[in-house]
């Protein structure tokens, strides 16, 4: 059995809606988190990201100044002095498949469509804590590996060049721990 020590995690929550921020804060504090920083727009969030160096970012999509998508793109700058690897959970009212794809291509780690639930949020946090994916850098992308299913037989146009070694497995902590039971 596994437990997340939420009291050791630092969260940055970015949503322009004060009601949603209150709900997120309530959920995270109930999970056990102590450090929850809040921003109401993308620009403030980016500033707080540099200042507080959060472990996990939870962001809305639609926001003033710049939105959650732009925030993700600004965090995912491979040569930045800050941390470009922090997990980003996008929590949004957008619920179309194409939006998931766009968010994924901006470097978002997990996508959570509203309405929010305690279970949905907890599962996304568990995923980013226990099963981080390797990062991929190409000419046009920098972010977590967008492939969740590794299919070595796939030979289509989106296959990365590099033969068998191209997909590196990073065993999740959960799998590792389970194998030792």
């Amino acid at each position: 059995m596994f437990r997340i020590d939420f009291n050791k995690l630092r969260f940055l929550v970015c949503d322009d809606n004060p009601h949603m921020r209150r709900i997120l804060r309530t959920l995270l504090h109930s999970f056990g988190a102590r450090e929850v920083y809040e921003a109401e727009d993308g620009a403030t969030a980016l500033e707080m990201y540099s200042h507080y160096v959060p472990d996990i970012v939870i962001t809305d999509w639609a926001m003033p100044i710049f939105d959650g998508l732009e925030l993700a793109q600004m965090i995912r700058q491979p040569d930045s002095k800050g941390n470009p690897y922090a997990p980003i959970i996008m929590l949004t009212g957008h619920s179309e498949k194409r939006r998931v794809t766009v968010a994924r291509d901006a470097g978002v780690t997990e996508f959570l469509a509203k309405p929010i639930s305690a279970k949905g949020l907890y599962q996304r946090i568990l995923n980013v804590v226990a099963s981080p994916r390797p990062f991929i850098k190409t000419k046009t992308y920098f972010g977590p590996d967008r492939r969740r299913n590794t299919n070595s037989a796939y030979m289509g146009p989106e296959r990365r060049v590099g033969e068998k070694h191209e997909v590196l497995q990073q065993p999740s902590l959960l799998d590792k721990a389970r194998s030792t039971i």
Binding site: F2, D5, S30, P87, G93, V128, A130, T138, V161
Partner: protein
């Protein structure tokens, strides 16, 4: 804690990409515990959320007032980008929040309204009734939803408005396949 030092980051270069691996910087927060020591964070969070529920009606009222105000500005002075965005954001927030606040039918109507704003080729040409029916429905659902017998009426109202909006959008986008594809695509949110 969130960042490993540069020496821990391993980069493997391939022809078209780099694969970057590093020790999980969050590994220290995951602990194995005995079953007896497991707590229930999800249950605790659901309880805390229930503790907030007394405020949901008032929050929802704030959200629908914002929507109503945004539409009044458009009705009086026409569409501009700013007014269109404000109407969309107000509807979009209701779409995302209403189910959490106990008004799932209002979320459905707000989603339908968002789709009209997003996919109608010319908002000035959208029949005004299509907007007013959606906004009035959201107001009615929020103000009347305290009565149990009105819940099924709300859901039915939501379904019918969605049908009317979808028929309208399918018609006006018949020559815009990229919009039609999005309009007809299923939502990623599982049905109730």
């Amino acid at each position: 804690m969130a960042k490993n030092s540069a020496k821990d980051i391993e980069v493997k270069a391939f022809a078209t990409h780099h694969v970057i691996t590093q020790p999980n910087p969050l590994r220290k927060v995951l602990r194995r515990v005995e079953e007896k020591d497991l707590d229930d964070p999800i249950g605790r969070a659901e309880q805390a959320l229930a503790g907030l529920s007394g405020e949901f009606k008032s929050w929802m009222t704030t959200e629908v007032n914002r929507l109503s105000t945004a539409y009044v500005a458009i009705r009086n002075d026409g569409f501009t980008k700013e007014r269109r965005d404000e109407l969309f954001h107000a509807a979009h927030d209701i779409k995302g929040d209403a189910a959490t606040f106990g008004f799932p039918a209002a979320a459905g109507v707000a989603e339908s309204l968002c789709r009209i704003i997003e996919h109608a080729p010319d908002l000035e040409k959208v029949p005004a009734e299509l907007f007013t029916h959606h906004i009035n429905a959201i107001l009615a659902i929020v103000h009347e939803n305290t009565k149990l017998d009105s819940i099924s009426v709300s859901a039915e109202l939501s379904r019918r408005l969605r049908k009317v909006a979808d028929d309208y959008l399918a018609d006006v986008n018949r020559d815009r396949p990229e919009h039609l594809e999005v309009i007809l695509a299923p939502s990623i949110v599982p049905a109730e």
